[in-house]
Symmetry: C2
Subunit: 377 residues, 2 copies
């Protein structure tokens, strides 16, 4: 039986990428690696839709989130964090760890952020240096409208910081056009690589803030890393060259497909899987679902773990459970990155079979037909 990863990260990785990752490591100071690093950086600019050069670190996405806080803010700065799930809380925890004053704007986890409500709340908070939010909240499968929120803060003296870890390469994201100041991503999501690299793009406003920041940093020092790249297209420290090589392959595939086509594909993926879920009589957790990960409530009387274990045992399919206090309450199907219609047929077809075996009344084939319909023409 094949092993199939339907988690919201790590995600499936193309074989061409894996082959590159498994090659003998390049030396990080060789001209060949510099050329690759430059190509990767330029292709990341394309994905982020920015004229700036994104930074790449050996770390998880959370490392890049910390890097953003440590470089853009100063001790005692007041920042607003949109808390609508596990990863919104992570922004809060990082800001607190670095001695910032955090104002929390809570959004029910089932719902997306309403930009008008957020703007009204922000207006009452006085001076705020940054607004940090999560574009696609991986823990709940909820979409938060970053573009609408960005419009509200565009002319204010606020740094707009976005966790796009599971939205970049999934949902439309136009860094420069929307006026985003810092956008964080990780390699193991829609960038179709194994985990271990994080990426960050920064606006001019963010770079100016980095000049003023007094928080301690060394490894994640944005300015020192930019200097190294601008001087010689090199990473500052030894980077995970094997993963960079893989990222190079995946980014070439992303450019070939085109970012608009990729966003459109994820739109279909989300629509297809939601149609399948509905046809199975199951409810989504989110009322404003994103196209990266679909969070599903188990049917009455069935435990989440029964479904997850049956999918794994009988179909080799690994889906995620819930994080933190959502553990046992939802299961999550990841479909960001290297996924297509056939994968959605597989996962919904398997879910249909598993539910039937667990005694849930399902009509064989109906959910799979719904996937086809949800995918569209």
């Amino acid at each position: 039986m094949k092993s199939r990863l339907f988690a919201p990260g790590p995600t499936m990785v193309p074989e061409e990428t894996l082959a590159a990752v498994g090659e003998a490591p390049m030396h990080h100071r060789s001209p060949e690696f510099r050329a690759l690093y430059q190509e990767v950086t330029e292709n990341l600019s394309y994905v982020y839709q920015t004229a700036s050069s994104p930074l790449v670190f050996s770390s998880s996405g959370s490392g890049a989130m910390e890097a953003t806080v440590a470089n853009l803010f100063s001790r005692g700065d007041r920042v607003a964090v949109v808390e609508a799930g596990w990863f919104g809380m992570r922004w809060r925890d990082i800001c607190k760890a670095f001695g910032l004053e955090v104002l929390s704007y809570s959004v029910p986890r089932e719902e997306g952020t309403d930009a008008d409500d957020l703007a009204s709340w922000l207006a009452e908070q006085g001076d705020v240096r940054g607004l940090l939010l999560t574009h696609s909240e991986t823990s709940t499968g909820t979409f938060h409208d970053v573009q609408a929120a960005a419009r509200k803060v565009k002319d204010k003296n606020i740094l707009f910081v976005v966790d796009a870890v599971t939205s970049l390469g999934v949902h439309e994201l136009k860094m420069d056009e929307w006026g985003l100041d810092a956008v964080v991503c990780g390699s193991q999501k829609a960038l179709m690589c194994p985990p271990g690299l994080s990426t960050i793009a920064l606006s001019e406003k963010a770079w100016a803030a980095a000049e003023r920041s007094d928080l301690p940093k060394y490894y994640f020092d944005f300015r020192a890393n930019r200097e190294s790249y601008e001087k010689s297209s090199q990473p500052r420290f030894t980077i995970a060259t094997s993963l960079v090589k893989g990222l190079g392959v995946s980014l070439r595939m992303i450019r070939d497909e085109g970012i608009e086509a990729i966003v459109e594909r994820h739109c279909r993926l989300g629509s297809a899987v939601r149609a399948g879920v509905a046809a199975l009589g199951l409810d989504l957790f989110s009322r404003n679902p994103n196209n990266a990960v679909t969070a599903i409530l188990p049917p009455k009387g069935i435990e989440v773990e029964q479904i997850r274990q049956a999918l794994l045992k009988e179909h080799g399919i690994r889906v995620a459970g819930g994080q933190g206090d959502m553990n046992g309450k939802i299961f999550r199907i990841g479909h960001l990155g290297y996924y297509d219609r056939g994968d959605m047929l597989t996962v919904i077809g398997a879910l249909e079979a598993v539910l039937a075996k667990l005694g849930v009344p399902v009509e064989p084939g109906r959910a799979v037909a719904a996937v086809q319909e949800g995918w569209g023409h």
Copy 2:
């Protein structure tokens, strides 16, 4: 022509390890990955010769150096740094970035640290919270006697912090027996993996210091990472699972060979390459060379870059140049990790041919014979 990496990192990686790195990524929350992570941690304890459980991060060795400073010390703490090259200076820079008061003990780069002199100097410095040094200084090829220095501070209230990035798995290092408090390493050195992972082992004294530290950290928070491992054998955040898989394979090879045999092999590797260099009439940069990397002065009238380029072009061999102000003054042959006698014959044989072609009077075969003799019985 084959490509042969003789840099002090990234180093050569066994094919079995590369094959594992190139497999489809494991999910970091799966039982299979937990079992692997536990095995890797236990095998790292073996390499470090400690009863404690080393931590693993997705980062370069410099990230782990920063982590050590941020977790063990507090703002304004006075620490002593042994500066004897590029990586000693890195300890200094990290400590300064985190607001520590740094007392620098300078050692000429050609020489090893004299433990008695260091102890006398330390005794004059008053209250010092930490002593940070480099076991094998990669930039100069110099060995610093950590064991002797450790004896001098063992009973003092000083945290003894060691950069063992290019010494662990090369030179004898007995973390618990010697009373070392924090020992940092990276995957792309003698651990025979691609770059992207760092490892840190900590003493009980270091863990107690971590309880008191007031410096900001999140991603590299030791206590939170230990909690995650102790609770469920998992990394706290998504780690570079592909690299961990590779590290698992390499660590099994390390256990099979045995740490004493590995130290002995590196002793022969160092001795063999130094014998070859001497037979070529070249001088070492260091008067107290380590067995990880051999730093060599070019013959009079020959540029370092001529040698490096000829080795690369004619033999596919990449050796390192000098770092910082050592650029152009030395070249460095790395031989830590997955190297054997045959590799030393290759690199010295190639160097012999290259020097002859550059007009240096060498007797063909003599240096290669010296390698055999230097290797010993």
